[in-house]
Symmetry: D2
Subunit: 337 residues, 4 copies
């Protein structure tokens, strides 16, 4: 931790800071600069968080942490890329995996027809929400267990793996029974109790970035998964909230190279939530592949205009197949499959 | 719902939109303007959300909702101010209630000394976190049930009511046993299952605004409480996330008149989280009272520099007493007590 | 400047950093911590900006400035409050000055009737735009010189001082001839050539905060005024851009205590632009006064619905008079007039 | 314009709104819905802006514009892609143009060596700042006219076209004499007088997006160029300001498909400003090409650590050459050169 003192303070004010630093278990190291005196407090910052509170002292101008706060998710801890394997499919390897399916599971017919179509076009993982977090209590909340059973049926009929969202600690066992990958949604990205409970199932976890989460916070939320002894973690960028209102969210594709630099975990891009507009999905997918995404999570619905949720961002099976074709040369350019 | 068509579309493209509107149960009403044709779809927007998905149709330029999505929290549903009563103290009445205490409960001595001090200075409700949501898994996570018991002890010794945070569905019964008011934190503001579970305890709920929540979304999250038959809801503004980095958050005091215009529920301001800096708390409190806040939630710690969490934003008991004195003329100016 | 090295780097990589620090004229000071080596580079940061570029070196993890970048606007340079005097009215003294008038000058009748009304209600400075920066080229761009002449006439008839916006280097002499205070708008807050030209007129400058300006950047923009030998500077907060869409901007009242802590210059609040809604102006004014604003800048129009610009945020003369009355007890509470 | 009335208003309140709509020259069209009465005001919204001010009336709940505010930059006005030609190079055609060079022109040697290197690697346009807008008055402000002369010399020696920034109305003639493309920087993106003056030179204009500009506002700023009879306009995305602090800005690549959908003008991406980090430039370039960018604007410096400005985001000539090679397969995948 670096502590910058205000100019022109008294000697005893400086001494008091040094005493507190020692009291908290750090070794102070004083540097006298031209305009300011700076103190380095030497020790592990993660065990003595309270040092940051020196900022409240009147003689202190600023306090700056030196260490990174994440450990297990960091590249320092694991220099090579980690991978997550789901039903023979490796996420984080040479092949860019495609997760596709409807926003919400609505009916057997809707789900199966979509599953068959996305499989035919190249998807390997089926997405579909059985429990839906909705901004308003008056909106469709998902089919619940019935939806999970339909996902299971679709998995048996198509061989696709299944990813579905977990949004309550009360559903952990139920969702873990049916899901191959457990998704934690953006609104629960810092619901740490849910993250811990999900991690403990031992299932791979896909952690969406919260709407206004800094990348450091996102990595720290992932740390809750790895520190609960579950190494199977995927980070999924799905758009952040900005002042722009043309799109529902602003997809931050720069998160791909940044997370890959800081962490060893695979990165997934959700262009559907990330823009909220079906007509932008194809372009977003191309950018994501070019920038190094390990998987894409795409919403597909047989009839978006009649979807129970988020119709505006779901593409039709035909459009999905077209996107898959258009992606092929970009996958090749990126040295991926 | 208002549907704006693109210019120069074909007659049959318009007809298809009209057909879909009718199919979804709305009555279309066509208006031909100078540059655009606009269709009003008449019907209750809350039951046919899917109409918004017309935005995916190539002939549609924009779709704009007309109705407000919140119902029970709105002033339309309840034109007069509602109040929440906790141990004889009315929140939302003439008296501005002061909730004060440490960020985290750390020890009996720390809590009791703080409780006595804040009571002496005018607080009526004691705050203290027993379960703490922390960005990093390596930070102090709270004393848990032991913390709740200390809060109970402080309540018995001082007569102060107790507000404490609930962050897991697994702790609902436990927290409800000890809390007079259940706090839902900013990171759980759209954890709808937690909101429902908290609402069902029948205890008053203080709902903090999420870091990047629009006011409409915040009111809708409150709707989850009221629609689960708990009318005792407090909205608490605690700072939003912006690009500014001088403060930890940007306290949005304009939320006070806005929420009071749109809703009947009392509004609480948290100047401690709202700025992240103890030296700004006094000014924030004055602004909050002047703009009509019904209560303040202030973090007080006997020795902020040694706090287990968020020391930089906690004021000392002496500073708290000074703030209470400075507030008096502003309370009078606002016609409050 | 503090330079944090990556862990596990080679000795010669560290040596290269030390060599570069010396080459740029700083004295390096090495601190070896538990997890990282940290180097303090001792010297005046403002003259050797380039040190920050060490961040591009592969062995460097982060580079953190220690010094504040602003000088003349800072409290360090001028510990007591500075004031700006305009036609016998002191801004930054005990009296909270009220600047009021229409968004745009539209006609003699509109301007004079407003001027008389705001003077009667307590305003001392008349605002009115003659040159208007408009988002679209098809919107009303102001009356130009004719508008300035009307402002002059209103000044002669009422004795009010005049504040008006400068938006082009080509208009500097013209605007300076008529204005008592020159306003630099939010969209020009980092138009540094305009700031320099305005400063050189010697007239007091009111500098609005840009839509997404950090406070540090705003103070540095003010530094362009003071470093061009014009000490008469007012900082005006007028709302920042966030994700919220209920209001046009989010008025950041916390800017008042922050700017007053960091700088000696008076702070003005614009609740009209700051919310974009006439119905929120009264509450914003009360909060501003309670938090220490030195002046308010309020848009008043005889008939807002027929205004040529920004009608939604202008209050009527009657509403303005009511706001002035409602403010009186808050002024007293704040120890102001 | 769509005007939504509040529920339960009196008949005469509705009549007053209808009267005002007619008075302002629109034809009202009433639609009675289940919960609200909605009025369509038929007429050209661009000539009667004031209708929006009905929002100030107590009986009005919301006012929503229907028409797009931009005209000449829109695809409606010009359905096919427009192109800008500079010294035989077409921007907006099949070839993705590369603009590269130092942030600031610092010396003949620095500029010429960079120009030769970027030309050899495939660039066709040389960038270099002679006038620099700097956040602090104490930072390097550019070589001014001397810098322009060096750019001219580099152009003559290499045959590269030249793009350089204009930041003052006082420099319009000077900059226009030397520049092949005039750049308007992010901080001047809504400096409308500068836009008009630049447009009138007849030179191609590259308009950077402001730090917190909505795409609609950016297109409207472009409208200032086209409506001043200069059809040669390039939109350049260079990162927006968000809460993230890992990067200096958040590059919004989704702006590419959006601007191309709404407008016919070519889109340029600046990955250097867009991230502020040299190590992210390569990934950003790949994403930009995959998503349809027409040109890239890349900062290259022979020795970034000793640059006079923004060293952290400039790549070396060797790194630039590597990026050009890595881009080749992505250009092919996108069907570009």
């Amino acid at each position: 931790m670096i502590i910058v003192l205000k100019p022109h303070i008294k000697k005893r004010e400086e001494t008091a800071v040094l005493r507190e630093i020692r009291k908290l278990g750090y070794k102070p190291h004083v540097m006298r600069g031209v305009a300011r005196t700076v103190i380095g407090a030497i020790g592990d910052e993660r065990t003595h968080q309270s040092l940051e509170t020196l900022i409240t002292w009147s003689q202190v101008e600023s306090v700056m942490p030196v260490q990174k706060r994440y450990k297990l998710v960091s590249r320092e801890a694991h220099p090579t890329d980690s991978t997550v394997t789901v039903r023979d499919q490796v996420i984080g390897g040479k092949k860019v995996q495609i997760m596709a399916g409807p926003c919400s599971v609505e009916s057997e017919r809707q789900l199966l027809s979509t599953a068959l179509a996305v499989k035919a076009a190249g998807a390997t993982i089926l997405r579909g929400g059985a429990f839906k977090p909705r901004t308003s209590p008056y909106e469709f909340q998902g089919l619940g267990e019935k939806g999970l059973k339909l996902l299971d049926k679709a998995r048996r009929e198509t061989g696709l793996a299944v990813i579905t969202e977990l949004l309550s600690e009360d559903h952990v066992d139920l969702v873990a029974e049916y899901a191959d990958i457990i998704q934690i949604g953006a609104r629960n990205a810092q619901n740490f109790q849910l993250l811990i409970a999900a991690a403990k199932t031992g299932k791979p976890i896909l952690l969406k970035r919260g709407l206004s989460m800094r990348i450091e916070e996102w990595l720290l939320a992932g740390e809750y998964v790895l520190s609960n002894e579950n190494p199977q973690l995927l980070f999924c960028e799905r758009g952040i909230r900005t002042f722009e209102n043309y799109t529902r969210n602003t997809l931050d594709l720069s998160a791909i190279p940044i997370v890959k630099r800081e962490s060893h975990c695979p990165v997934v891009i959700d262009p559907s939530q990330g823009s909220g507009r079906a007509d932008l999905v194809a372009a977003m997918c191309k950018g994501a592949v070019a920038m190094g995404a390990d998987a894409l999570l795409i919403e597909v619905h047989p009839n978006p205009a009649e979807a129970y949720s988020d119709g505006a961002q779901q593409v039709t099976p035909a459009a999905f197949a077209r996107i898959m074709q258009e992606l092929a040369p970009f996958l090749a350019a990126a040295g991926r499959e």
